[in-house]
């Protein structure tokens, strides 16, 4: 039985920790280890976990490194144990069904080329709504969370999908090691779209991401990011360009360019109509900042392009709906 390491990054969410850790600890699949990466919380999270969940290994980074760096620290730590075959990433605002891991690992054992797996993630507050089934880059370049706030009427999957949402997902060790970069999540991104980046990389490298049927998790959604819409917009639009340029084949980029421009223009106009002038400029700033990052991104692209095996036509069809 393969060992699974849970990596949970937290930053000032002490109130959520109990439920999250409890659901991880009580998984029916028991060969697990739990690693908590504390991004310098001020609210006593660390002492709380030490007290209530003594089995959890805690890594204190001392300051807020962001999602990407925090997770990378955790993943690196997890992979030092050679028995670990899969790494599960869980957000602190997510809760797992008891058989979540069992279902996913059973499924993942069948897929030698499986990179990432997720179950259907439901809305934490209303279990009849879906939070996400998968993520993908649409043909207009925008990262999309599929089935967001759609009614959950029946079991979804199994499906090969474009990418998985890192709110509650399992990554295989084989993929993490096959990937060309030292950082699993791109640390230059700081926040937002890192999971889309990883998903796209897996897909273009010919690895498979899957939506696993029957594995349910619950996610509160963008609770923390809703605090500062201007910042999230800026980061999203900045990182979006890096993700696209770094990963996608040139013919697709050419095909996407006019669609992207139209989508951006529509978004910009929408903000203006809503009277959100500040946000609309944040968007433009994000795009411009993205351009500054291009040289670094192009270097990475060169390293990655040697490993790209996917057929552009098939990738294009995946970008319609993400499956």
């Amino acid at each position: 039985m393969t060992k699974v390491a849970f990596v949970i990054v937290c930053w000032n969410n002490c109130d959520l920790l109990n439920e999250c850790f409890e659901s991880v600890r009580s998984q029916s699949y028991q060969n697990i280890s739990i690693i908590m990466v504390d991004n310098g919380s001020q609210d006593g999270s660390v002492t709380y976990v030490h007290q209530h969940f003594p089995a959890v290994r805690v890594i204190e980074t001392g300051s807020n490194l962001g999602f990407a760096k925090g997770n990378n620290v955790g993943i690196r730590e997890a992979l030092t144990d050679p028995a670990v075959g899969f790494v599960a990433l869980i957000n602190t605002d997510a809760r797992l069904e008891r058989d979540w891991l069992e279902k996913i690992i059973e499924f993942a054992q069948q897929k030698p080329k499986g990179a990432a797996f997720q179950g259907t993630t439901l809305d934490y507050f209303d279990h009849s709504l879906i939070d996400s089934t998968h993520i993908f880059i649409a043909r207009n370049g925008q990262a999309t969370q599929s089935h967001y706030q759609k009614r959950y009427r029946y079991e979804l999957g199994p499906k090969k999908v474009f990418g998985v949402n890192a709110a509650a997902a399992v990554f295989s060790r084989a993929f993490i090691e096959a990937e060309p970069f030292d950082d699993f999540f791109d640390e230059t991104m700081f926040m937002y779209l890192e999971d889309v980046d990883v998903a796209t990389r897996a897909t273009v490298m010919g690895w498979d991401n899957y939506l696993v049927p029957g594995a349910r998790a619950y996610h509160m959604g963008s609770k923390s990011s809703g605090k500062n819409p201007g910042f999230s917009l800026y980061m999203t639009f900045r990182n979006n360009l890096s993700v696209l340029v770094k990963n996608l084949p040139v013919p697709l980029l050419i095909k996407m360019a006019p669609r992207m421009m139209r989508a951006d223009w529509q978004m910009f106009r929408w903000f203006r109509r809503q009277g959100m002038k500040k946000e609309s400029w944040k968007m433009v700033q994000g795009r411009l900042a993205g351009l500054i990052y291009l040289p670094i991104v192009l270097l990475k692209r060169r390293r990655l392009s040697r490993l790209t095996t996917i057929d552009p036509c098939y990738l294009w069809s995946l970008m319609e709906k993400g499956y």
């Binding site: 030698p112 599929s146 759609k150 499906k159 049927p213 319609e320």
Partner: protein, 553 residues
């Protein structure tokens, strides 16, 4: 170019342009686009009713795919459509006969995707039959499912098959409806098939995909015959059907058939060979069933064949004219029939309630007493009785021989010709059951048009006939003796329906025999169309409404 246009114009303008182009016949019709959207959403909605627990037996199904230099853009959708199956207990066997190194590698790599995928590396390309046979030999499943290397399955394909196996544990051959998919991934041209129709099967291989056959049966008929390449699946289906297993039709679209320019081009290159292979397969089929007849391939329509059954020499045929109308019309009809019909080799006898003047070639009897039909049936001496309405005229001379030939078959209850106007609009093509009612098929459609039920010019097995013109073996009347003796017997649709349902014979509309129907009133033109929201023609379409209508994406 198209993508550039799509990205520049907003969706509403684009739709307007598309509709305009469709009106001018320059692009896909609105109907086709609606269908594609519906199919794409149905893909996801289908699983609404699905619960794997309702399956009692879960047989292993081996999907066999003969691969030959498969391009990546077709290979990947094909493999992942199998990986995405809801039903878990399958194996995918790829027989790799590729000659290009890159394709070899690409197919070999599929093995890593899932542990249930196996690649059989062949030393050389053995042709489509040979490659498929290698895959079948390596398959371990109780059932073999056939998939072509550039086609895809719907997610619930195997689940529906296994559901059918659970409902029919003896099933030997299972097939489903299908549609086509183009390079852009758009679905089009759905083909909704009838339940098993032996007479349609001798006209065209309508079963094609998605085809699942019990492995024992394939072994029994000796696998695929490589001398029949191009029509090897037709050959196999005919062989299996002749073993008379239980044949189950799943009334759902489970298979997307790829439209590629390459494959049609290849077809043209080897066309005469393919045509000959199909003819040979049909000849074997006749031999196995101890039937005599001529088989030919239709020249302008690849894949369509025509069987003419021979009738015994000097067979007696009774033509019953004048059931409706006056003596004058009966006289006219009999004259024109005799003038335009080739009756060589048949002993013709004409029966009518009126005194007719028949010039030559046939004997004539008048039946005066009432009720006419019962008395006519009693007096007729023919082995085959042909009942004819006065408002028809033969299109060519062979119609009578064709009709007698098919009516002689043991499996056939009654046979009717295709009735149409002189312009080619169908006026009678039999009746099919829809939601407990019998309704007409293809009336108002042109003979050579294409509908979602296939071409109207195909000979078909139908639930009942209208009774305007039909041929009946005398032997089949034995089921109805009591009614005939009692008097007042009529050949209404109920009679034909009983033939097909109670006595398990097939009613046929035999399109090799065509008659022109003379009508004064213009026909209301109907179009046979596919509309998932409508209940139409068959109860089979109702099944398509079981999916929730709310679009999901």
């Amino acid at each position: 170019m198209a993508t550039l246009v799509e990205s520049i114009f907003p969706p509403r303008t684009l739709r307007l342009i598309q509709n305009l182009l469709a009106e001018l016949g320059l692009s896909r019709s609105k109907e086709a686009r609606d269908y594609s959207a519906w199919m794409a959403s149905a893909e996801l909605n289908k699983r609404a009713s699905i619960s794997q627990d309702q399956l009692k037996t879960k047989p292993l199904i081996s999907i066999v795919v003969p691969c030959y230099n498969t391009p990546a853009k077709y290979l990947q959708p094909m493999v992942y459509s199998v990986i995405n199956q809801l039903y878990k207990h399958w194996e995918l066997v790829l027989a790799n006969g590729s000659t290009e190194a890159k394709a070899q590698e690409r197919i070999q790599a599929c093995q890593d995707i899932d542990t249930r995928v196996r690649v059989i590396q062949l030393k050389c390309n053995l042709g489509i039959s040979g490659n498929t046979n290698e895959a079948i030999k390596a398959a371990r499943g109780e059932f073999i499912a056939f998939l072509d290397h550039d086609d895809t399955l719907t997610d619930d394909a195997l689940f529906e098959v296994v559901k059918a196996i659970n409902e029919h544990p003896q099933a030997g051959l299972i097939y489903s409806d299908e549609d086509k998919i183009d390079d852009q991934g758009r679905f089009q041209d759905p083909h909704l098939k009838p339940d098993f129709s032996p007479d349609l099967l001798t006209y065209v291989n309508y079963i094609t995909h998605f085809l699942v056959i019990r492995r024992d049966l394939i072994k029994k008929v000796g696998m695929l015959d490589s001398t029949r390449d191009g029509a090897q699946d037709y050959d196999l289906i005919l062989k299996i059907a002749d073993l008379r297993p239980e044949i189950v039709h799943i009334r759902k679209i489970l298979y997307h058939w790829r439209i590629t320019r390459g494959s049609t081009a290849q077809d043209f290159a080897v066309k005469p060979k393919v045509r000959q292979a199909g003819v040979e397969a049909l000849k074997d089929h006749l031999r196995r069933n101890e039937l005599k007849g001529q088989v030919s391939a239709l020249m302008d329509r690849p894949g369509f064949y025509r069987v003419s059954y021979d009738s015994p020499a000097n067979q007696e045929v009774s033509l019953i004219v004048g059931r409706f109308g006056s003596g004058e019309s009966a006289q006219k009809c009999a004259e024109s029939l005799l003038a335009k019909t080739d009756i060589e080799g048949l002993e013709l006898e004409i029966i009518s309630p009126f005194k007719l003047e028949i010039s030559a070639g046939a004997r004539f009897k008048t039946v005066n007493s009432e009720p006419f039909l019962d008395r006519a049936v009693e007096t007729a001496r023919g082995d085959v009785l042909i009942f004819i309405n006065e408002i028809v005229q033969p299109e060519d001379e062979n119609w009578l021989r064709e009709l007698v030939g098919i009516a002689n078959l043991p499996r056939v209850g009654a046979a009717a010709p295709l009735l149409k106007t002189e312009e080619g609009t169908i006026t009678d093509c039999g009746l099919v059951e829809t939601e407990g009612q019998l309704s007409t098929l293809f009336v108002g459609e042109k003979v050579d048009s294409y509908t979602c039920f296939g071409y109207p010019e195909w000979s078909r097995n139908v639930d009942a006939l209208s009774g305007r013109v039909f041929a009946l073996k005398r032997g089949n009347l034995k089921f109805f003796e009591p009614e005939i003796h009692r008097g007042g017997f009529g050949f209404n649709t109920q009679f034909f329906y009983d033939l097909s349902r109670r006595h398990e014979l097939y009613n046929v509309v035999w399109t090799s025999a065509r008659l022109n129907q003379l009508t004064d009133t213009p026909l209301r033109s109907g179009r046979t169309f596919f509309n998932p929201q409508l209940r139409f023609y068959r109860p089979k379409l109702v099944l398509r409404n079981e999916y929730p209508e709310e679009r999901d994406d």
